[in-house]
């Protein structure tokens, strides 16, 4: 990390480096490599594709982040005993509540899936359910942070940042880690902590009010300030070269200044994004069948459908890690009305995404991950709601390297606590990295004299689900 920046290359050479693809990044890394022998001297810029530790089963990730803690008991964890125990109190704080919705077996694999998710049910044979999930705390901010970074207490790099650090990215004109409709105030979920800033997630489509714009815009989403109204590309490049020389001057003066390094890299990425981004965000080139597949012309599914389609387009273009967000799963009451709406909003879009990835041949090396920060209690709350439950819940994966139509792990008879095939968030992280060809114990970053990793000192790869 502490390469010294007391170097000065001839100006001509510097400008040449600046104007070639990776611009300043390339320049700075060549210089750094020249200044100091590095272990990883093959990689000349921090975002260039890197070889994994071993053969990867997936090249990229689409993370479908369900915020609020979706109930596993009404989606993917069928509990016939809970139906029998309905109304009993037992050791619980409230009386047990069966799912108000029917479950049935889907696909050739016969996975049990709720009737609220018929479309996802139709692609059951792609899914690999992890029904023994558990995490440390039943409080939203901490559990969400832990799901993203492994650690709720300290600020640590997120899963996406680690992935990008480990593998680089395949599209130099796009951020390697993109989060679509990231809620505000949740920057830590896509943050880099001590990893270089360039590995951080870039928000797309805004949050809150702006996600409404994401939904409404006819051609996908517009990116603010993506084009300069006055300057030609060449003029802007000259201007940017000037900015970067000022920044490089500052970096030389300040010696150790990660913020400025990050800014230099961000500017180069921003410059390249100007040409790549508008086309990628414009979905007018998609045919009607594709739009229908994602439910984009339907009010209930339009918003999340667009996000799913955007996820495919970004992945297809080489973005390494895409996170898309769906909120509103915190159903403490009125589940009977709200929960079906939640499910309807994601059902068709997610099924559409899996089908589309399959038909494009992308699903084999794209890992799709569906997860909330925790599940919900089998006992009821406020009449028809469920409380937070970190002890047992379900997530699933599909695509690159996992068994389709497969279920691993189980909760107890009522669905309260994981009892078989337990998968803690650390194990989950280890498994995702493994599928990407990264050994979670080897993917480390030295900071302040210590090697850090995503899984800290924990984590076991869930081998049973590997195909």
């Amino acid at each position: 990390m502490n390469e010294q920046h007391h170097f000065r290359l001839p100006r001509r050479q510097m400008l040449k480096a600046l104007s070639s693809g990776f611009g300043y990044l390339a320049f700075s890394s060549i210089a750094a490599a020249a200044a100091k022998d590095r272990d990883d001297s093959k990689s000349i810029n921090p975002l260039a594709p890197k070889n994994p530790h071993f053969k990867a089963r997936a090249k990229r990730v689409i993370f479908l982040c369900m915020r609020g803690g979706p109930s596993h008991l009404d989606t993917f964890d069928y509990k016939p005993e809970l139906i029998k125990n309905h109304g009993k109190t037992g050791a619980f704080r409230g009386s047990l509540m069966k799912s108000p919705w029917e479950f049935r077996q889907r696909g050739e694999s016969g996975l049990w899936i709720s009737d609220l998710l018929p479309e996802i049910g139709s692609v059951a044979d792609e899914l690999c359910l992890l029904r023994g999930m558990n995490t440390d705390l039943p409080v939203h901010p901490r559990a969400i942070t832990q799901m993203h970074t492994g650690n709720a207490q300290f600020v640590r790099p997120s899963l996406g940042a680690w992935t990008l650090y480990g593998l680089g990215t395949e599209n130099e004109s796009m951020p390697g880690f993109v989060s679509v409709s990231q809620p505000s105030g949740a920057s830590q979920d896509i943050g880099t902590a001590f990893l270089p800033a360039i590995y951080g997630g870039t928000k797309l489509g805004g949050s809150g009010g702006r996600s409404a714009r994401f939904r409404k815009s006819p051609s996908g989403t517009s990116v603010a300030d993506i084009k300069n109204p006055n300057l030609s590309d060449q003029q802007q490049r000259t201007q940017l070269d000037f900015i970067q020389r000022l920044n490089e001057e500052k970096l030389r003066r300040d010696k150790e200044q990660p913020g400025v390094e990050g800014m230099i890299e961000s500017y180069e990425l921003a410059f390249r994004m100007q040409s790549a981004m508008p086309g990628l965000m414009d979905i007018t080139d998609e045919d009607q069948a594709t739009l229908d597949l994602y439910g984009i012309n339907d009010n209930a599914t339009s918003s999340f459908g667009r996000q799913c389609l955007m996820a495919r387009r970004l992945s297809e273009s080489g973005v390494r890690f895409v996170e898309i967000n769906h909120t509103g799963w915190d159903t403490h009451f009125s589940m009977n009305t709200r929960f079906p709406q939640q499910c309807e909003q994601i059902d068709k879009p997610i099924a559409g995404l899996l089908k589309d990835l399959r038909q494009r041949g992308l699903l084999d090396d794209t890992l799709v991950v569906w997860a909330g920060e925790f599940g919900r209690t089998p006992y009821g709350q406020n009449g028809n709601g469920r409380d937070h439950n970190n002890k047992g819940y379900t997530t699933w994966m599909a695509g690159g390297g996992v068994k389709g139509g497969f279920s691993h792990g189980a909760t107890d008879e009522n669905g309260h606590e994981a009892v078989e095939g337990k998968c803690h968030i650390h194990d989950w992280h280890a498994t995702i990295l493994h599928l990407l060809g990264l050994d979670h114990t080897q993917l480390t970053y030295r900071y302040a004299g210590r090697d850090f990793r995503l899984t800290d000192v924990h984590g076991n790869v869930v081998k049973e689900i590997l195909s």
Binding site: D225, D241, K250
Partner: protein, 876 residues
């Protein structure tokens, strides 16, 4: 659909007017004192009422069926009394107020759906309500025994943060000559303990730029830089003292530091959430905060005003108006106006008030104990309900226009001192009369529409339903909704004027409830699972002596006086930590909202206590504390990197250097405006939201009805069909993010619709308490500096200014750097600029453009580059 009743103006204590603006129903019906039911009463209920409820109502309104349509549950006594989103189902003894009565008569509602109860059943309900609705279905109150024992609480007081701060003795240091102030001695002692040395002094330019940004949020101008340089050379400390005193006296100080407080107060001008409705009077709180910081209001008093400004003694109407405005702090939170259940809404509101006051002022999270004992700190669940009882007996007035989606409107308070700016909005008696007439007419229409609806429904129930009947019912329902909404807007309008046609000056805030109610603990935080009664009180672990609360008062005044004082161990510590953080980059406790056991320990515990005790001794003067930090040696250390120190202390917890940091969004935007010469330094009246009046936020715009007094004609025809419109109210649309030359603190803060210039640089999310902003580094920021219209326009103005001040490009470059970076240009910067001049090819060369155009184009692009550079955005 919300069913709203309209009240009229009423007077409250001390002459405060509460205008029932969009007077929603008050959810909390007085519960009669529990008494034993007679056996006849129980028999009547069991034989005549309960069977009907089970047969015809439980299907949609009971825990067993898991349904609570309209938020209503009728399977418990409380459920009936609390009612659903439209109000109480039963008001014992009062048929007219009992919604259930009108519902089973198919008046406002049509219950049970599609069917009338028998005449006898209806008569039974009448009799039952009139006899006081005796209902034996009382949920047995659980008695929750806390797992946190009194001994645990006593033991908990041993935790560092829950012990009273005491003045520490100054530590011994080896390099005594380095330290100027007690602060320095504490810092140096820690460094020496770890065998580190403080960094050398920073140069004059860096120190001045720090002071200027930290104290007023703006950069120094070249004259100030030059003057300071020469004085700093002579006597650094004297130079700093002089500048600090100047800066503290400027009105920009309050604009900078008031904004820090607004981050904590989750200040916003709209409700946020699904239906985002404006708070057109929120800006009065903003101005109040800025003014309070500028007059260096003692922090203890400031805190008291936030919590109970309405109850503090006031020596004049002006002072009273000021402290009443302060209680906007409790009313400003995000609101889920679509909440179906009135009780749930109210509990969430109270919870938010407990949460914000405890975290902002005390740095502990009491709200963690809403559903169960605090998991980590010795705060039992009963402590939460003791504190929530205080807010439960408080009414919160946040306004919000009544629309069909707004199920939870409230009224506002009238300021005792009228806003003189509103005088011009006075309407004539004639106009007032017209308003009244229009309202009466609309109310007649409403009555007629309701009658027609009733008729249509009865008709539909008596025969087999035909399609056109149901269409007719649908239309009649719509007519009622329209007339009711129009009447609502008209009434609101009428209620916003006094009898002379003068608009009232409204403000958001709180008041004491009329009659005190006892508070019950709620098992699991659930409103339908009441536990034992909990006396109102304060978190025990923070009280050396228990604080008594009078039965007849809510206890809010006691809470305010305890919070805004040194009677608890945290208020002073938490605030000095915040001030330290804003000056030094990090707090001494790096989790500013969490001083509890899961928070971080102070890096310099003795220094923290020194500052806290000193703060109290100095009369809680924030300016004095800021001054003390600013003149310390520690504050003026260089930000120079040092490898050895970094290895020992990578997070700079020991303060071996000044922590370099990125400027906040406001500082970046305001600096650009100042440098270009475009900054309008005076305060604007209100804000875009305030000037737009009541309205709905949609996709970056405010759709509003005209603000009080602005409407001219009373014609209700030709109106666009839009919810929220009332008759005679002109709708208008205002873009939220529009160009402005005012300081950023005056830009509209609409939840989830923050201006791009602020959003892109991590502006505080107004949905939560933000004690420490994020400091991200993203390509989006790059795009903003490269391409945004604001930056491009301002760069051109900057260039024009430089061209007026200097003629030669080289001078212009030097001057530009001096303005933007607050120091002389380096040789490297000059040569980079010269190279830029050589390489930048102006547009349309060889055409008719003259050379001055070309020069401006080049210099503008260069100026943009200077502003886009890292040096501009960083404080060294």
């Amino acid at each position: 659909m919300a069913h709203i009743t309209f009240g009229s103006l009423q007077r409250v204590a001390l002459g405060a007017l509460i205008a029932t603006f969009f007077a929603g129903q008050v959810w909390a019906q007085q519960e009669p004192a529990p008494r034993e039911l007679s056996s006849q009463e129980v028999d009547f209920f069991e034989s005549r009422i309960r069977p009907v409820l089970i047969k015809d109502c439980y299907g949609c309104h009971s825990a067993k069926s898991g349904a609570s349509k309209g938020g209503l549950m009728v399977d418990t006594k409380d459920g009936m009394l609390i009612g659903g989103d439209s109000g109480a189902a039963i008001v014992p003894g009062d048929l007219d107020e009992s919604l259930l009565w009108s519902a089973i008569n198919h008046e406002d509602y049509n219950m049970p759906p599609g069917k009338m109860l028998s005449q006898r059943e209806i008569a039974d309900f009448k009799q039952w309500i009139e006899m006081g609705a005796p209902d034996p279905r009382v949920v047995k109150a659980a008695n929750i025994k806390s797992e946190i024992t009194p001994e645990d609480i006593e033991k908990g007081k041993e935790f560092w943060a829950f012990k009273m701060p005491t003045m520490p003795s100054l530590p011994d240091v080896a390099a005594g000559s380095w330290s100027d102030e007690p602060i320095d001695q504490f810092v140096l002692a820690k460094l020496e303990e770890n065998e580190l040395k403080p960094a050398v002094d920073a140069n004059a330019e860096s120190v001045l730029r720090r002071l200027s940004f930290d104290l007023v949020g703006l950069p120094p101008n070249p004259q100030q830089t030059a003057a300071f340089k020469s004085e700093y050379k002579k006597d650094p400390r004297a130079a700093i003292e002089k500048v600090v005193d100047d800066l503290l006296a400027r009105k920009e100080f309050g604009e900078r530091w008031g904004r820090h407080w607004l981050d904590l107060a989750r200040y916003a001008e709209s409700t946020g959430k699904e239906v985002n409705i404006t708070f057109p009077n929120a800006w009065r709180y903003r101005d109040y905060v800025i003014d309070s910081f500028n007059k260096d209001k003692p922090y203890d008093r400031f805190v008291q005003e936030q919590i109970a400004g309405d109850l503090l003694p006031a020596s004049s109407d002006a002072q009273w108006a000021e402290s009443l405005t302060a209680t906007g702090f409790l009313a400003m939170g995000p609101k889920t106006l679509t909440e179906q259940n009135g009780r749930q809404f109210h509990l969430d509101l109270i919870d938010e008030q407990v949460d914000i006051s405890s975290r902002v002022v005390l740095g502990v999270s009491v709200a963690c104990a809403r559903c169960h004992d605090h998991k980590f700190d010795p705060i039992p669940q009963t402590d939460y309900y003791a504190m929530s009882g205080i807010f439960e007996n408080t009414t919160t007035h946040y306004g919000t226009i009544d629309t069909v989606q707004n199920r939870r409107p409230s009224n506002l308070l009238v300021l005792p001192v009228a806003d003189p700016k509103l005088a011009s909005k006075k309407i004539s008696r004639k106009e007032l009369g017209q308003l009244k007439e229009a309202l009466e007419k609309t109310q007649e229409q409403l009555v007629e529409a309701q009658r027609e609806r009733r008729q249509k429904r009865r008709g539909m129930n008596s025969q087999n339903t035909k399609k056109q009947d149901s269409v007719g019912v649908g239309r009649s329902v719509l007519n009622v909704a329209r007339a009711s909404s129009k009447a609502g807007a008209l009434e609101a309008k009428l209620n916003s004027y006094d009898s002379n046609g003068m608009p009232y000056t409204f403000v958001m805030g709180v008041q004491e409830a009329d009659a005190m109610q006892e508070t019950r603990l709620l098992v699991g935080g659930e409103f339908n699972q009441p536990g034992q009664v909990v006396d109102r009180g304060l978190p025990q672990v923070l009280c050396e002596q228990p604080v008594e609360i009078e039965k007849r008062s809510s206890g809010r005044l006691e809470l305010a006086r305890w919070m805004g004082s040194d009677a608890n161990p945290l208020t002073a510590r938490v605030m000095v930590n915040r001030i330290w953080q804003h000056m030094m980059g990090h707090g001494l406790v790096r989790t500013p909202e969490n001083f509890g056991s899961t928070g971080q320990r102070p890096t310099h515990p003795q220094l923290l206590d020194y500052l806290a005790v000193k703060f109290v001794e100095d009369g809680w003067s924030m300016k004095s504390l800021i001054r003390e930090i600013a003149i310390s040696r520690t504050y003026r250390t260089s930000s120079q990197f040092d490898q050895k120190s970094f290895e020992v202390d990578p997070e700079n917890e020991l303060l071996w250097r000044f922590e370099p940091r990125r400027l906040e969004a406001e500082a970046i935007r305001d600096s650009i405006l100042m440098i270009s010469g475009d900054l309008q330094s005076e305060r604007p009246y209100a804000s875009i939201v305030g000037r737009s009046g009541d309205g709905l936020v949609r996709e970056g715009s405010i759709l509003s009805v005209a603000s009080p007094g602005e409407q001219k004609s009373m014609g209700g025809r030709g109106m666009r069909r839009r919810r929220g419109d009332g008759g005679g109210v002109k709708p208008s649309v205002a873009t939220i993010d529009q160009p402005s030359g005012h300081r950023s603190v005056y830009l509209p803060v609409v939840r989830d619709n923050v201006a791009r210039s602020l959003d892109v640089f991590d502006f505080a999310d107004a949905n939560m308490v933000v004690g420490k902003r994020e400091s991200s580094n993203t390509p989006d920021q790059g795009l903003y500096f490269l391409n945004s219209k604001f930056v491009i326009d301002q760069s051109q103005k900057f260039a024009k200014k430089l061209m007026q001040e200097a003629s030669e490009p080289q001078q212009q470059i030097r001057l530009g750097i001096l303005w933007a970076y607050g120091r002389e240009a380096t040789a490297g910067e000059i040569s980079a600029a010269i190279d830029f001049y050589q390489e930048f090819v102006v547009s349309g060369q060889g055409s008719r453009r003259d050379s001055s155009d070309e020069a401006l184009e080049k210099l503008s692009a260069l100026c943009q580059g200077i502003l886009a550079g890292a040096e501009f955005r960083y404080l060294n």
